[in-house]
């Protein structure tokens, strides 16, 4: 069994009276595709937000790659190697597709104000490398022909791809996708699946939230089910599919 990359221990989060997460503990292993499912409002996105530092959990915490993740420091999560996409796509709409991916390189590059003002050789070399890598990533997600278009003018499917490319630009160890297949047709979903499998075979661990049960069961090595903020089960798809509680809470519905 490969080592654990991300471990959540007793993570809790409430909004007023709503207990969005109750004592959620789960672990994601290096190199696997891990699915997180559950009915609407189960707390999946909240889990993402706690993990990536956008929310501060009210209890528990995360260990990532051997060291604790600090709450309330989203930019540090990215630096440590956690990248994410958003359920309601959040691109930099008035920047081009290429610039969006270039932004993703920010955390792995270092040119500062002086470098920019004096246009030092190092800065120019870094800038060229950023551009080069961004172009490669646009090719990787197959939207290279949209490089010069404003992100907001891309089709829905392309926007999802662009968001993945931007996340990949940060060189994540763990890529978290929040309902990447939402609103996609069968062909697009099949392409997405191929893309996700490709990313995994490049060595990136993937955590993804999805409502499409067929996609999740077909793609994931392991699946966790959340219901009313609590973890119901965490196991391989074959077991999860047969679990009575899951069928009641989610699959049966």
């Amino acid at each position: 069994m490969s080592r654990v990359l991300l471990e959540a221990k007793g993570v809790a989060k409430h909004f007023g009276g709503v207990k969005a997460l109750r004592d959620v503990s789960l672990s994601i292993r290096q190199g696997e595709i891990y699915g997180l499912i559950g009915p609407n409002g189960a707390g999946k996105t909240t889990f993402f937000n706690c993990m990536t530092g956008l929310y501060v959990p009210d209890g528990g915490g995360f260990t990532f790659d051997g060291a604790p993740l600090h709450a309330d420091a989203p930019h540090q999560a990215a630096r440590r190697g956690i990248a994410r996409t958003f359920q309601n796509i959040r691109l930099f709409g008035n920047m081009t597709a290429l610039e969006n991916v270039m932004i993703g390189r920010h955390v792995r590059t270092g040119a500062g104000v002086l470098g920019a003002i004096f246009q030092t050789a190092a800065t120019r070399a870094e800038e060229a490398a950023i551009r080069q890598r961004a172009i490669e990533l646009l090719h990787y997600v197959r939207i290279e022909d949209r490089a010069g278009d404003l992100a907001k003018n891309l089709s829905y499917g392309d926007q999802r791809r662009l968001e993945i490319a931007r996340a990949l630009a940060t060189e994540p160890k763990l890529l978290c996708l929040d309902e990447p297949a939402a609103g996609m047709n069968a062909t697009e979903t099949a392409e997405l699946r191929e893309l996700i499998e490709g990313i995994r075979s490049d060595g990136t661990t993937i955590l993804f939230i999805e409502h499409d049960v067929k996609l999740v069961m077909g793609l994931c090595d392991r699946v966790a089910v959340l219901d009313y903020g609590a973890l119901v089960i965490e196991d391989v798809p074959a077991v999860v599919q047969k679990d009575q509680r899951v069928i009641e809470a989610y699959l049966g519905a």
């Binding site: 999560a77 990215a78 932004i103 104000v113 404003l150 996340a167």
Partner: protein, 353 residues
């Protein structure tokens, strides 16, 4: 084809440069007052480009920008005037002024950067007023700023024995004080334009734009939004400090009156009216808003007497009236500014549909 464009743009730059070089002599034909107006226009361009880093690039609405100008101005005034008997050289004062303004920028920035939009605007507005009131009241118990009377007899800019005040003869050409300051200010402006341009198209500039577009997404890709906003504040403030220093030296006199809220609003209006974040637009905005009121001031009176034989409307109030009307018209018909960047114009057009 490409070559042709290159030649045309080089020719354009050359023509522009020649125009800028002869401008103070053209203006001098109308009297030294016009050269002085020109000087202030360029100083405002400098100031507006500094504020552009904060407002245009990082998207932080700063209504207290003039406070940093004040810090720079008073630094110069205190370190180069009979008030304390200090007469330090420019390469000592200007960095100190810029540094102090920068510190003021960080001081203002660090507690307020969690605020956004209107809230940030209100706090910065308050900060600007606090600085002005400080300058007004720091004459007791120890007289530091000389209160509302201000500080007089401030040293002009000087490099060694070359002073920027008074007339000097260079290569048989008599240059007046305002004309010399003009060239100094143009040099400073060229510098700040280059810095603006290079920052805009850099890793830092991109990160600022990302923060402006979507702060949450920017955080999620690993941008340290707090530090980058502070950086914008600090840089904008430093430029404000430098501008303040030159202002102080040029005027020979500072008082808290010069740093009122209306000045902050003016500089912000220059940035917004011209075209936020778009450098040529900001320059246009600054030049128009600083020259137009002066032109009205000098133009309205004589025109009225010529037309009606006497003054019907006080030129001063008419000036503000026309000014306000112009602002309203621009915001109504060119909401992205007079000369917006192509992207920004597209943004607004699409939003309007």
């Amino acid at each position: 084809m490409k070559n042709g464009r290159f030649f045309r743009s080089t020719a354009g730059v050359m023509a522009g440069a020649v125009l800028l070089l002869v401008l103070p002599f053209v203006a001098a034909m109308g009297g030294q007052a016009w050269v002085r107006i020109l000087d202030f226009a360029i100083l405002y361009v400098f100031l507006a480009l500094g504020l552009n880093i904060v407002v245009g690039f990082a998207g932080l609405l700063d209504l207290g920008y003039i406070a940093f100008y004040a810090v720079g101005a008073y630094t110069w005034a205190l370190l180069a005037s009979p008030h304390f008997g200090l007469h330090l050289p420019i390469w000592v004062i200007l960095p100190i002024g810029a540094g102090l303004a920068c510190i003021a920028g960080v001081l203002l920035g660090s507690p307020t950067l969690k605020l956004r939009g209107d809230y940030l605007a209100i706090v910065t507005l308050g900060f600007g007023e606090i600085v002005r009131i400080f300058m007004n009241n720091l004459n007791a118990p120890i007289n530091i700023t000389n209160g509302p009377q201000g500080i007089t007899l401030i040293d002009p800019v000087a490099f060694g024995s070359f002073k920027f005040s008074g007339t000097t003869e260079i290569f048989g050409l008599a240059l007046t004080g305002p004309q010399k300051y003009y060239y100094l200010l143009i040099a400073l402006c060229v510098l700040v334009v280059i810095i603006n341009l290079r920052l805009q198209h850099s890793r830092i500039g991109r990160a600022w734009q990302a923060i402006r577009e979507d702060e949450v997404a920017a955080k999620a890709v690993g941008i340290n939004t707090r530090n980058l906003k502070l950086l914008a504040f600090a840089m904008g403030a430093s430029f404000g400090g430098v501008a303040g220093g030159v202002f102080s030296a040029m005027q020979g006199f500072v008082s808290p009156e010069s740093f009122s809220l209306i000045e902050s609003i003016m500089v912000l209006a220059m940035v917004v009216l011209g075209g936020m974040g778009h450098i040529p637009g900001v320059i246009l905005g600054a030049v128009l808003l600083s020259i137009l009121p002066e032109a009205l001031r000098y133009g309205v009176g004589p025109i009225q007497t010529a037309l009606f034989g006497r003054l019907l409307v006080d030129p001063e109030s008419l000036r503000m009236l026309v000014f306000g009307l112009a602002l309203v018209l621009v915001m109504r018909f060119r909401p992205a500014g007079l000369w917006p960047s192509p992207e920004r114009r597209r943004e607004l057009e699409e939003a309007g549909q």
